[in-house]
Amino acid sequence: MLEGWLHGLQSLSSPHELLFLGLGVAVGLFVGVLPGLGGVATLALITPLTYGMSTVSSFALAGGVMGAVPMGGAITAILLNTPGHGANVVTCLDGYPLAAQGKAGLAIGAAASSNAIGGLIGTITVLAVLPLANILVFAVGPPEFFLLALLGLLLVATISRGRLLRSMISAGFGLMFATVGYSSVTGGARFTFGSDYLWNGIPITPPLIGMFAVAEMLNLMIKGGSVLNSQTSVKVTNIAGGLIESFRHWGTLLQGSLIGTVLGCIPGCGAAVSSFLSYSITARFSKDPESFGKGNIKGIIATEAAVNAKDGSTLIPTLALGVPGSAEMAVFMGILILHGMQPGPFMLIGHETEIYSLIWAITASCFVASAIGLLLARPLSKITAIDSQILAPIVIVIAFAGSYAVDRELDNIIVTAVFALFGYMSIRFDFPRIAMVMAMVLGDIALRGYQQSMMISDGSWSIFFTRPVCMVLMVCIVVGLLAPILLRKSGLRLARGDTGRMPGTGEEVRDARTKLSDG
């Protein structure tokens, strides 16, 4: 195995392969910045281009793209609250507030270092686990998917602790949107109104673009000014401080990387799920959860580490079993087949060097993309000071163009516009958007997992209590629900709502009454 690692590294080290790696990183960063076009569309575009290349060159190019897209998406998520990549939605939560406070450099520095370290941890895990992959992947089925999604949905409340009721309403709407489409389990189309476009459900990218990029720019256009708060300066400083923050919060970095690595091994759990869960768990068990969503650097570290760690571990089910670990891997399998490689248990035997060169390419691209992102931090941060009346319409049209470009569907533009209106209303009337998006992503997984589990067990709930991984997830759910209550009762300090007082006391009711009378 060690020999395979070294041969893979050696084959990637030639100038020719490094050139393709650099090209892949440049393309990945560029595409990552554009809302809508993520790694999936980019890999699909470059697949036919790899036909005349050697296998290692193709892998260097593809690996460069896969590792760099999240970093590009993180930059726009931080500067403009515009996630370039689906998983970067969560980066917006704390990245954008930090940019508005004039700490864009700190945020980008933290994102860059988390990206790099998370990617490294993910690929180290892949290198160690790949020969044992089939045990892990076969242990996860519909019951595990359902409980995993349920865990994520229950943690939604953590994200907006001070607005629990509105979070749950937003999540409910997200679940309602998740039911749209044809249900292969129960049979029958729901809420499609005869539309072919909605047959497979509402695609996730146009709503993300609408709710975050377009809605935020609409809000900015209406309020005026710029992204930057009027009292803060556009100077980008403390990038190095951002780099160091990831190491200072090494526990969060490690936790995020491990969550991304584990979830990446599960086919169907995309980067968005990894980032959501990593963020939620970090916020939930933090000493000051109410600071999340207002510019807490740990929110960025947890998210970016999980996103890039997932990149490496999605290779495990893809290469070992021929089951794509993510949408990107599904497209990447096309490149494998194009070069005469059949994904599956025998891949490592016949193509060890090529596989390990791909893993090294993804690792290297995380570092290179992070370094380039850091170099671009200062010039890109000036975007936050641009007049909103010029910036907002430009970002809006680029967002719509990106939404259309996902799969050249005009209906994407209409969906983006509808969700932009939803998103603006959510901002205006304080319904957390992230809860809706989480529920849309996780709801589909939860619904399908539950219905399939009931079919497997003939309607018996015992299926959730008799499988080892299910038991572990059940314990996680119970711990997640009870931990804050138990910790509070044991006298340990927990973060509470905005008043800092014990809920239900006279002081807090008086405060709430005062707030209501202000309106």
Partner: protein
């Protein structure tokens, strides 16, 4: 009268959400039992939560208790002094942009939107807005059409030239 109107406006978002959820449930009940099970469960849960939200908005003791426990950080941006006229124009422009995409195509609609919003809504100098509109249109064409080879929708009016 102004206070009454202000109070009613506060309930509008939740009331609107109730209408949407009711419509969702009404449609869900037209499906067969198996496919409608989950939508019905979700719909009723959301209605219950919206009921609690409306109660939390009310100036009653229970409302204040609910707000204190479940929504202590809730804020309504309508108190932030946003100009309603600007809001309606901005939202209307979004609908117009969507229609523009369908009729005029991606490139023309993008350039026109940037120019009109920056010049008329934002009241920025004409030259600046023209340059910005031209630059963004060219950039989109270069990025998507030339570099990424993604054909952009030409629009109904330009699809079949006379």
């Amino acid at each position: 009268m102004a206070k009454l109107r202000s109070d009613l406006v506060r309930y509008l978002p939740s009331a609107g959400a109730v209408l949407v959820t009711t419509a969702y449930l009404a449609i869900a009940y037209t499906y067969k039992p198996a496919p409608r099970a989950m939508p019905v469960l979700i719909g009723w849960s959301v209605l219950l939560l919206l009921g609690l939200d409306i109660l939390a908005l009310s100036p009653t003791v229970m409302g204040r208790q609910l707000t204190a426990r479940l929504n202590p950080e809730r804020s309504d941006q309508r108190r932030a002094g946003l100009d309603p006229r600007r809001q309606w124009i901005a939202l209307g422009s979004l609908c117009a942009l969507t229609l523009g995409f369908v009729l005029l195509g991606v490139l023309v609609a993008c350039g026109l939107y940037v120019f009109l919003m920056a010049a008329l809504f934002g009241r920025r100098p004409l030259l600046t807005t023209l340059v910005a509109a031209a630059a963004v249109t060219c950039s989109i064409w270069l990025m998507f059409v030339q570099f990424l080879h993604v054909a952009l929708y030409p629009g109904l009016l330009f699809m079949h030239p006379f």
